[in-house]
């Protein structure tokens, strides 16, 4: 099946006909509904909140925010989708806006954000003037700023391949978010990917992603299949600094030694462990 993202820009793809077809399909309604419920579960909001729905479309995702007692603002680039949202008497406040141009809200305003099946559209630059990376970073920078400290976002998306998946997750981490990926029904054709983002302490207060990584671990703790994206763990191949004396550092040094033909002790489970002081 060809991906709509590869055929047309979103505002042209979601024209009146397509938007109507999308919104009235009972199959789509039920999928969007279950993914939104999952996102809400991951957000774990404990009180009625102010939520941003990015790529809200005709309101299929937003209506679950309303029924959970939240007030929401939705932004979407397709006027046809928003017109259907109006027809359906959606409770959310709607904006015609392009997430790739940023998220135009005062800093620290929203309690949380969701996005259901929209983010992959950002991987296709739809004009020659602006790169996909540029649009992604404008989006995540804006989202980061518009969420309150301690705020969370859950974004379900359909990456075309690993390149897109990495493009999106690394743009989120670069913006300052603590990030984790959750995959439901992996290895099946129904697999669903959720990017879980947290806004930790203010940027600049914490060096690197140190706290960010921990935050998101708490959010998704105990949930099966969650993969915390933590730049620090990348060791020497990633951007993070490898700590001198750490296990990975020792293993790498030993490997280097072996490659140079030196006599190096074999690796064991004790390699790089802290030794107890001996009295």
């Amino acid at each position: 099946m060809s991906r709509p993202e590869d055929t047309l820009p979103p505002d042209l793809f979601y024209n009146d006909t397509e938007s109507y077809k999308y919104t009235t399909s009972s199959r789509i309604k039920s999928i969007q509904s279950s993914m939104t419920q999952r996102a809400l579960q991951l957000l774990a909001l404990t009180s009625p909140s102010m939520v941003l729905d990015i790529g809200c479309g005709s309101g299929l995702s937003g209506e679950h925010l309303s029924s959970s007692g939240h007030i929401w603002v939705g932004m979407d680039i397709s006027a046809s989708m928003l017109a259907i949202a109006l027809d359906r008497d959606t409770d959310g406040d709607l904006l015609l806006a392009d997430m790739g141009q940023g998220v135009p809200f005062r800093p620290g305003t929203f309690d949380a954000a969701i996005s259901i099946s929209a983010l992959q559209w950002l991987c296709n630059a739809d004009s020659s003037e602006v790169s996909a990376t540029g649009r992604l970073s404008r989006f995540f920078d804006g989202l980061y700023s518009s969420l309150k400290r301690g705020g969370k976002a859950v974004l379900q998306f359909y990456p075309k391949n690993d390149v897109q998946r990495t493009m999106i997750t690394s743009a989120a981490v670069k913006a300052g978010f603590g990030a984790g990926l959750l995959e439901d029904d992996p290895e099946t054709k129904n697999k669903k990917l959720y990017l879980v983002l947290t806004v930790g302490a203010g940027r600049g207060e914490v060096v690197g992603g140190a706290v960010a990584g921990r935050d998101v671990t708490d959010v998704v703790k105990g949930m099966e299949g969650v993969d915390v994206i933590d730049e620090r763990r990348k060791g020497k191949n990633g951007k993070g600094k490898e700590i001198k004396g750490s296990k990975s550092w020792i293993l790498r040094k030993k490997e280097q030694g072996r490659n140079k033909g030196r006599a190096v002790k074999g690796d064991s489970k004790y390699t790089g462990r802290k030794r107890r002081p001996v009295f």
């Binding site: 909140s49 007030i71 680039i77 904006l95 005062r106 305003t109 929203f110």
Partner: protein, 128 residues
């Protein structure tokens, strides 16, 4: 557009990010409707700390509501906000909506049109 949203939204033009004049955006030729929204005291209490009160006074005045208190009602442990105050806020922030009109940036004068309650925030690329 709800009054609450107008207290959150800023000019999307890049050059306006650092200007204090780009918030709040100013309503012009606004047509208002009142639409009932379920009252939820907990929601109002929860968002009140993130309301910019001075901006709300400006916005409300532009729409013809001039009887807001000069200071944000601040709940304390001994004196939580009374039901009436919360209901008044609910009515203004969530039930009062602008259906037609414009939002204008005080810095770059960009006009964001509002039609059927939906504000158009799409920008030409050179302004982003």
């Amino acid at each position: 557009m709800k009054i609450l949203t107008s207290n959150y939204i800023t000019c999307a033009v890049k050059a306006c990010k650092s200007s204090t004049l780009s918030f709040p955006l100013h309503f012009q030729d606004a047509e208002l409707v009142q639409e009932e929204v379920d009252f939820n005291a907990e929601f109002i209490v929860g968002i009140l700390p993130r309301i910019e009160w001075d901006a709300l006074i400006v916005t409300a005045a532009e729409l013809g509501f001039t009887n807001l208190p000069a200071q944000k009602p601040e709940p304390t442990e001994e004196a939580p906000l009374g039901e009436q105050v919360l209901k008044d806020l609910h009515k203004l922030l969530l039930e009062t909506q602008v259906t037609e009109g414009k939002l204008v940036c005080g810095n770059c004068q960009h006009i964001y049109n509002i039609h059927q309650g939906i504000a158009n925030f799409l920008l030409p690329n050179h302004l982003v």
